[in-house]
């Protein structure tokens, strides 16, 4: 018969409530979650023998049976409840009780996982092997047929304990919380600009020029680079309001070649009307300024 007094609780309120009903008000002094095995030692024994008069509401039984995490969990519970030593595993008793629970599950039409039936078969097999008379020619060191089941039970017990330990480990969002500190308003993300190699720039220029030549009839004149650079430099030196003396645009230290480059740049800029030159009279100093639309 079923004895539901010391069911392990899965911590859900429903199950705990039902448990209390079932024990006819008997106080459950143990907290089952923290301790794996002690329940059966408190008030189990008195009820094991005579559970017949115990009224079990069907839905309550259902809740209780559903809290087992599988056949190993159920077996472990039965063993601990009876204060059996796991290492001696009284197969006959445990099998009988196990089958009672399985029958109850079937009666309640619980979705009975195949694992429970498989375990029933394993128990029956072990039982039959233990009942068989030992043949004299068999070696003495033959393994106890219970050994494998005992090993699995011990291993499962360890996992069960580990799961409980893990559940008690300080956990984010439950026991500890992440600290969120804002940055002061002048913290701005730093943008890392992509790397460019000089070869890429040169190649891009060649490609652009090649394409241009393909669809343009006139060839694009290429001034010497130095002239174009000097044009940029001169433009940046001048402004459109004040005139600067022309000689300020030449750097004597550059030598003749440098002066020629500057001169070519000035001519090119004049041609493109980017700068204006004025001369007050013959042999007077020449002054330059940036071209501007108004004067044009």
């Amino acid at each position: 018969m079923l004895d539901t007094t010391d069911m392990p609780s899965n911590g859900s309120n429903g199950a705990e409530l039902k448990n209390e009903e079932l024990t006819n008000g008997e106080k459950q002094s143990q907290v089952p979650v923290q301790q794996p095995l002690p329940l059966a030692f408190i008030n189990g024994e008195a009820l094991i023998e005579k559970p017949e008069d115990l009224f079990i509401p069907p839905d309550a039984l259902e809740v209780i049976l559903e809290i087992f995490e599988g056949p190993l969990d159920l077996l472990l519970y039965l063993i601990r409840k009876q204060k059996f030593d796991i290492t001696v595993l009284p197969i006959a008793d445990v099998t009988k009780q196990y089958m009672e629970y399985v029958d109850a599950m079937m009666a309640l039409k619980l979705e009975l996982a195949a694992e429970y039936l498989l375990m029933a078969a394993i128990l029956a097999e072990i039982k039959s092997r233990l009942l068989l008379p030992k043949r004299s020619d068999e070696s003495d060191d033959e393994e106890d047929p219970r050994a494998e089941l005992i090993r699995r039970l011990k291993e499962y017990e360890l996992v069960k304990q580990a799961a409980e330990d893990l559940d008690e480990q300080p956990r984010l969002e439950r026991d500890v919380f992440n600290v969120a500190v804002s940055t002061s308003s002048n913290v701005v993300p730093i943008r890392v600009e992509p790397n460019v190699s000089l070869a890429e720039v040169v190649l891009a220029f060649s490609q652009a020029m090649k394409r241009a030549q393909a669809f343009e009839h006139h060839t694009i004149a290429r001034e010497a680079l130095s002239t174009r650079e000097r044009m940029s430099l001169i433009l940046s030196l001048l402004n459109s309001t004040d005139y600067s003396p022309l000689e300020a645009l030449f750097t004597v230290e550059e030598g003749r070649a440098g002066v020629v480059v500057s001169f070519l740049a000035i001519l090119e800029l004049m041609k493109e009307q980017l700068i204006f030159c004025i001369q007050a009279g013959p042999y007077a100093k020449i002054h330059v300024k940036l071209g501007s639309h108004e004067e044009n």
């Binding site: 995490e69 394993i122 050994a147 291993e155 499962y156 996992v159 580990a162």
Partner: protein, 197 residues
């Protein structure tokens, strides 16, 4: 490379750990906020240790988890701090916790191996939830028929449970011993295969 004095270094490291959105490692500190300074590893460790001590009596703590250093609230304050949020922290089923524990203690492990130990099928939902929470991940496939996925825990798992490595798992050695015992006992292994077929 510029020099930085210890007081400034401490302020900068403190602020960086605070404002970083995730735990931050010493290496990451050196590559970001400290990139323009010459800071010896020893100095950095010393400063972090000092910070840990500074915060010991306070409402928040500086701790090291798997993916670096982070500040977190004091464990003991959680009953009141949790009132800042409408929703309570999610509870996880025993099936989920047992599956997670097995993956944590026995990684890498296949779903079949988990099912063998637990004696019941592991629902796909559990694996999915654990994966979505970034607590477990597939780290490979076992070279047996069907090539089942091998699961392991992630840094996110360690971070979430305030651990810096798997060695911080409670009772890690108990598991170690059990595993060794099982492996060395070959007779049990032979038996193992008979009933489960």
């Amino acid at each position: 490379m510029k020099k930085i004095n210890t007081a400034q270094l401490k302020q900068l490291v403190e602020a960086a750990i605070f404002v970083a959105e995730k735990p931050i490692t010493k290496q990451q500190l050196k590559e970001s906020v400290l990139s323009e300074f010459t800071v010896a590893d020893r100095t950095l460790s010393k400063v972090i240790n000092e910070l840990m001590l500074d915060y010991q009596p306070r409402g928040i703590q500086l701790i090291e988890v798997a993916s670096g250093f982070r500040f977190q609230s004091l464990d003991a304050l959680s009953p009141w701090l949790s009132k800042l949020w409408q929703e309570s922290a999610p509870k996880y089923s025993r099936a989920m916790l047992e599956t997670l524990a097995l993956i944590a203690y026995r990684q890498p492990i296949t779903r079949g191996e988990i099912e063998q130990v637990r004696g019941v099928a592991v629902s796909s939902n559990i694996i999915k939830t654990l994966t979505e929470r970034d607590w477990i991940k597939v780290v490979g496939h076992k070279e047996v028929p069907g090539r089942p996925a091998l699961y392991a825990t992630t840094k996110g798992f360690l971070d979430y449970f305030s651990m810096s490595s798997l060695a911080d798992l409670p009772n890690a050695d108990a598991f170690e011993n059990m595993a060794e015992r099982i492996e060395s006992d070959s007779t049990l292994k032979v038996l193992n295969e008979a009933p489960s077929q």
